[in-house]
């Protein structure tokens, strides 16, 4: 009876279950259960110099250089950055701007590698089979060196999260196998086929951060994956304190903060990392990549990609080398004509719409969707006025008030938008999804965030300019005063000899110029 009452209360929205809000879009997991296939190698690879959140990399190779698969071709710049590696063996043919995955359709410098077809690997990194005896810092450096960034789509450099902090000891590792976006199945398939490897990666991460327990989070629409993982866990004596948690399917459960709340009831404070509540969260694909980096010494040069969409002739779960163009990958699955097709990079809820298929696959490419033009257009009908129905606030996983926030962004009242916690918006799109007025709320938020960033940049620049201007003013005033003082002194001393005075003046003025410059 209490259970029934609970369900009724939840149905009526009187009681929360798991994280706040959320929606349940049509799953459309066309590729569920399809075995992972290897995408064939191609003659040309394009490696953009920035594939993660943070600073872009600096190339280490020059045109004409021969590279091996896994060889480092670009160096990380700054702390929030990881290096890049050649996806196959071949020759660097050019380093120039090329369109990349970005909503603007703009270009960025990319390294072009012409494959030699041999796919020779670079074996310079030794295998760390003895990782249990190694210091966490050594393993962490390995993870960084191998270029691993969160493969769930956020591409935050992974090594940064893998720290042991005395103040905030990590108790729990959450392995994220939620995959709540429609269409996407690559994590699902990885858990089905490579459960052992994923668990090895999990053990390595737990060793690195000193976590005592682990949770493998899976939604109830992937019960087969949960079964496989449970079985693999049963066979694995090492991971005694790890369990599989099956959560009700709801988008955006895969978002780190929402997932942590669903599992532990803890909220990550705004502006803080999950480790502040003693949790770290890693995607299953990332765990597998960490395992490959440590056990096999293999840098990140490939990833699993769900190639799907309602316009995809033969959808599949593919293992794709980074740097292959989308056009090439799509062609492998029978899609060559892009007339009336919209390409989405990522899932339909958070993915970017790409303008051309000639951009390369990067570390964040969780899915490549080919959608019918009409399907995408139906999701973007003409915007109507907000009727303030509040469905967006009910759906918001961050408990924001999207419609009011969007009003403030539209009216350029950015201070108010910020006061309404604009920067806590995770851009999951649940609000736009439920909006009966079809308001592109997420775009308003992105506009607001972009404008605020730009205003801050402008303000900082203006402030720096003002300081330089003031410094210059002060310097000019000082020089003028000095000049006047010197002049009066000189005049006093040399008053009887007028011709000499003029020469001094000339000399002095040239001195001044030199000083100024």
């Amino acid at each position: 009876m209490p259970a029934m009452l609970r369900t009724l209360a939840q149905k009526l929205g009187m009681m929360a279950h798991g994280f706040h809000g959320g929606v349940h879009p049509h799953e459309r997991k066309l590729t569920a259960g399809m075995p992972i296939e290897d995408c064939p190698l191609a003659p040309l690879y394009i490696v953009p110099l920035k594939q993660h959140i943070g600073e872009a990399c600096t190339p280490l190779v020059a045109v004409g250089d021969k590279v091996l698969r896994g060889q480092k071709i670009a160096r990380a710049e700054g702390y929030v950055s990881v290096p890049l590696h050649a996806p196959t063996s071949g020759t660097v043919v050019k380093i120039e701007e090329h369109p990349v995955v970005h909503p603007s359709g703009m270009s960025m410098p990319c390294v072009f590698i012409e494959a030699d077809g041999l796919d020779e690997e670079d074996h310079s990194l030794e295998r760390m089979t003895n990782w249990r005896d190694l210091d966490a810092a050594v393993l962490r450096e390995r993870v960084r060196m191998c270029g691993i960034a969160g493969l769930g789509g956020a591409v935050f450099p992974t090594f940064i999260k893998l720290v042991q902090d005395k103040k905030n000891p990590i108790q729990t590792l959450v392995l994220n196998g939620i995959e709540c976006e429609p269409y996407l199945t690559n994590d699902h398939q990885m858990m089905l086929e490579q459960a052992e490897e994923v668990l090895q990666g999990m053990a390595i991460i737990m060793h690195m951060v000193g976590a005592e327990s682990g949770i493998i989070a899976i939604e109830d629409n992937k019960s087969d994956a949960a079964r496989v993982m449970r079985q693999a866990l049963a066979e694995n004596s090492e991971l005694a304190h790890v369990h599989v948690a099956v959560l009700p399917t709801r988008y955006p459960q895969g978002s780190e903060k929402q997932l942590i709340y669903s599992l532990t009831g803890k909220e990550v404070p705004a502006g803080k990392l999950p480790l502040h509540v003693g949790v770290i969260c890693q995607n299953v694909g990332t765990a597998k990549a960490i395992r490959d980096a440590v056990l096999l010494g293999k840098p990140l040069t490939e990833r699993l990609v769900t190639v799907s969409g309602d316009a995809m002739p033969r959808p599949a779960n593919l293992r794709v080398r980074l740097g292959l163009t989308l056009r090439y990958v799509f062609a492998q699955r029978g899609l060559e004509d892009f007339e009336n097709i919209q390409i989405l990079h990522g899932g339909p809820m958070m993915g970017e719409r790409l303008r051309i298929p000639d951009v390369p696959v990067i570390k964040s490419s969780i899915g490549l969707l080919a959608m019918h033009q009409d399907t995408v257009m139906q999701a973007h009908p003409a915007e109507q006025p907000c009727i303030r129905c509040g469905h967006c606030s009910q759906a918001c996983p961050a408990a924001l008030v999207p419609n009011l926030m969007a009003d403030h962004c539209r009216n350029e009242q950015f201070d108010k938008a910020e006061a309404y916690n604009l920067f806590d918006c995770i851009e999951c799109g649940a609000c736009s999804y439920v909006c009966p007025s079809n308001i592109p709320l997420v775009q308003y938020f992105r506009y607001g965030k972009g404008q605020i960033a730009q205003l801050r940049r402008e303000h900082d620049f203006a402030e720096a300019s003002r300081q330089r201007f003031d410094a210059r003013d002060a310097r000019l005033a000082r020089e003028k005063a000095e000049k006047a003082a010197r002049r009066s002194r000189v005049r006093k001393e040399l008053a009887p000899a007028p011709d000499k005075d003029t020469t001094t003046k000339v000399e002095k003025s040239t001195n001044d110029k030199a000083e100024e410059s």
């Binding site: 970005h102 909503p103 603007s104 703009m106 270009s107 960025m108 892009f338 007339e339 009336n340 919209q342 303008r355 051309i356 000639d358 033009q373 995408v376 257009m377 973007h380 009908p381 003409a382 915007e383 539209r410 350029e412 592109p440 775009q443 308003y444 992105r446 506009y447 965030k449 972009g450 404008q451 960033a453 730009q454 940049r457 402008e458 303000h459 620049f461 203006a462 402030e463 720096a464 300019s465 003002r466 330089r468 201007f469 410094a471 210059r472 110029k513 030199a514 100024e516 410059s517």
Partner: protein, 194 residues
């Protein structure tokens, strides 16, 4: 007579009382300068370009705060700055007369530069470096695009270039409400790339 006297006295006494209270209040609540000037100054782009007719941003801020200048004279700040100032001053917004050009950068064609240092002296933010008889160069990160260096150059070797757009600085535009654009636009690009 006494009635009139009473009226005058009481009114006078009362006025005196009010006067004394106000005089004291004036002392207590005395303020130095105009606090609005700094607020306005912090909204201005600090190009010091002088397009407002004042010798710099601070003087213009002064003029606006004192009511001597309208809020719409800052050309590089454009509409946004005008709206901010109007909002702060509580006055009706007024359109900026001159259209703000795209953000510019000064660029010295070094092979033509004669090293006269005139541009260096003109630059209000010390964003040009160089010694006499040496090539001068603009520090890109510090140039405000005020164009004050162009005029003094005796050999006309300074160009104003449009500031390049950076991928990192790209910002989402406001949504377009005429959503049919999805179709048109795709057809356009397809012709170019197919």
């Amino acid at each position: 007579m006494t009635h009139l006297l009473a009226a005058l006295l009481s009114l006078g006494a009362f006025a005196l009382l009010a006067g004394v209270v106000l005089a004291v209040a004036q002392r207590v609540f005395h303020i130095e300068g105009d606090p609005m000037v700094d607020k306005i100054d912090s909204m201005l782009p600090q190009t010091q370009c002088g397009q407002c007719g004042y010798p710099g941003c601070k003087p213009y801020a002064n003029a606006v705060a004192s009511g001597a200048a309208e809020v719409n004279h800052c050309v590089p700040g454009g509409e946004r700055v005008m709206l901010q100032i109007a909002d702060l001053m509580g006055v009706e917004p007024k359109a900026v007369e001159e259209e703000a050009a795209a953000p510019m950068l000064a660029f010295v064609r070094e092979d033509e530069c004669i090293g006269c240092t005139l541009c260096i002296k003109a630059c209000p933010v010390d964003a040009i470096v160089g010694a006499p008889k040496q090539y001068h160069t603009v520090i890109v990160d510090q140039c405000t695009g005020c164009m004050l260096c162009v005029e003094p150059c005796p050999v006309d070797c300074i160009d104003m270039l449009v500031k390049p757009e950076l991928l990192e600085h790209w910002a989402w535009p406001l949504p377009d409400t005429r959503r049919a654009a999805v179709g048109h636009e795709r057809r356009g690009h397809h012709a170019g790339h197919a």
